[in-house]
Subunit: 372 residues, 2 copies
């Protein structure tokens, strides 16, 4: 029942400047004492997975063969990946499936036959051996599809709210807010009473979030954007940005607007700006250009990189346990993901499929079905 | 003995886009219960004072009259100062002198005849009424010149070291390190065993700091700057930047170099970069352009504005008391300031004087002598 080898989607950076994504038959090791073997049934393609799979390679110039894609990197793109040159890396941060074999340990044996989700990496595979400790047993009745994305987006959304609480922030401004994660954050903040300003870049994205019940949605393509943003910040007291973009002018504009609101509230002039604390956490790089902070934001501000794993580590075991319990509790409601398409693993490198899922467009999330 | 009016240097932004610095005879109020009247003897011109006095006005186009300078602002410069339009603001953050009158309170009476320093503002004046709580009694034998700069630079240097301790940083990289503050920091870090990398922009500045005994000095004008910086960061483990500049590429280069050192130390590749924490505190704006952070710094970084007053507030009363006691203890050694010129208040708006002290050049610090 447990095969000796299994099909795995891997990514390799070659010295000739190409990145190669390939479906590869690889040995499947026997599980150690505290490990289990999962027959993977569903795994989502998150932006972070695309980063590992294709990095900055030019998909428009890719060469497609059955089960294999070669895409060229720029010299700078290649140089940035020198640390992984030649390594054959399995892809897929998270996924869900059924435990079909287990190591001798009691905790491992207890998972036999259970449907679990995991964040152990290498999940774009028919089978995967993972530590018991990385497994979340799915609630009764939840499908593998329900549990496939139980980690990255739910923990990120919860991590935003926990970070806001930890620093005593009053409310969130979220950019690229129409994303799968953004929609999840709208539901979570509504459920938990957290003030949220959603920044999107198209009218149809604004409509989507308003339909979800979002109270504050501002569209950066609108001629009244700056004033709309000011009003939303004033109305909510939002002082903490979670930014998926990084480069470009948007982050600076939001911080400047927060400072403008802070100065108006302060009344008296200070040439050092307002004493209202402004924070931003940059968690993505949809624009890979430099982060640019204008100097009309005073001196009371803090901008940080935000990465799920070290943040969860810093939040501590109690908060981590609270976050994980919450995901289990609200998996099929607050934390439900929607997919544009579900594709068998064997077709994931088909040309039309790759061209579509690498567009990183809103509402174009893919689910891989390795068991299909 | 206490006059009814006194000579004060003021700054006013006019609606016609000019900033006017003027020596003005103003009423001197009687001291309230917990106030004293200081006959000001010495007050330094810090970069922050220049910001209040002339902001971004073009001194090269200024019009000089006796005791009065009018300098034009750009439209953007004027707009940035809309909050102080028309206000006549006394200038001079800090200074020292002798208490010549006091309110009825016991603490105020106890200061009569004492030489004190204060950080109460408006110190470019013959006399100044200040709260007792703002006064630091100078040590026996210290002159007003010794005590004139007892606050801004000493507390800033101590504040850097206390901030480093509070966040658990391993060492400091300081930019514009040849400044008066930078020289003070070299002496303080040597005395307290704090690792310090000094970044300067000219060979003669590097020589100056090496003569002071600085162990690590790197010159950004050198062709080997990037490699020199890397070696200094590697040797010291410095992970915390205090940056006086803000705009331009230097801050990003330092953070990138810290990340490069962190990745080398980590060994294994991670596309999210190293987990080595990098911090930067931007405390000045010698370059008023936007702060620019490249994305080759991973996700574990934190860049903040740093302003003395809110930072001291956040450090708490125990740390504040420790800092103030330290200034008193080491006022004439670690925290001594050097001045290029000492000028009576009545001559501070002379054309040659203004043109010189507004150059903001290293080693060109001025001391105003209101009693002369």
């Amino acid at each position: 029942m447990v095969p000796q080898t299994t099909l795995v989607l891997t990514s390799q950076v070659q010295e000739d400047g190409k990145i190669v994504a390939a479906l590869t038959e690889m040995p499947l090791p026997a599980p150690a004492e505290h490990e289990v073997v999962i027959a993977v049934e569903a795994a989502p393609i998150n932006p972070s997975d695309l980063g590992l799979l294709f990095s900055s390679a030019r998909i428009e110039d890719a060469v497609f063969a059955p089960g294999r894609v070669e895409a060229p990197l720029s010299p700078a793109g290649l140089a940035a990946l020198s640390g992984r040159l030649g390594d054959v890396l399995p892809v897929g941060n998270e996924g869900a499936g059924t435990v079909i074999a287990a190591g001798s340990g009691a905790a491992a044996q207890a998972l036999l036959g259970k449907r679990v989700a995991t964040f152990a990496g290498g999940m774009y595979a028919r089978h995967r051996v993972v530590p018991v400790a990385s497994c979340l047993v799915l609630p009764e009745g939840a499908s593998a599809k329900d549990g496939a994305a139980a980690f990255v987006n739910p923990l990120t959304a919860l991590g935003f709210v926990e970070t806001l609480r930890a620093v005593g922030g009053k409310g969130i401004v979220h950019t690229a807010a129409a994303s799968n994660l953004g929609q999840m954050l709208v539901r979570l903040c509504a459920a938990d009473g957290v003030a949220l300003v959603n920044v999107v870049r198209k009218p149809e994205q604004a409509a989507l979030l308003k339909d979800l019940g979002a109270a504050h949605v501002v569209d950066s393509s609108s001629p009244t954007f700056r004033e709309d943003l000011r009003q939303a910040i004033e109305a909510t007291g939002a002082d903490t940005v979670f930014d998926a973009i990084g480069g470009g002018p948007l982050l600076g504009t939001i911080l400047s607007t927060m400072e403008q609101v802070g100065r108006t509230a302060a009344g008296a002039y200070s040439r050092y700006g307002s004493t209202a604390k402004k924070r931003a956490y940059v968690y993505g790089m949809l624009d890979t250009g430099p982060i640019t902070l204008p100097r009309d934001i005073g001196f009371v501000w803090d901008v940080s990189g935000w990465l799920l794993s070290p943040v969860m580590e810093a939040l501590g075991p109690d908060v981590r346990a609270r976050m994980q319990a919450r995901v289990g509790q609200d998996l099929t409601t607050l934390f439900a993901s929607a997919y544009k398409a579900q594709v068998p693993l064997t077709h994931i490198l088909d040309e039309a499929v790759v061209r579509d899922f690498t567009r990183r467009a809103t509402g174009a999330k893919y689910l891989i079905l390795p068991g299909a």
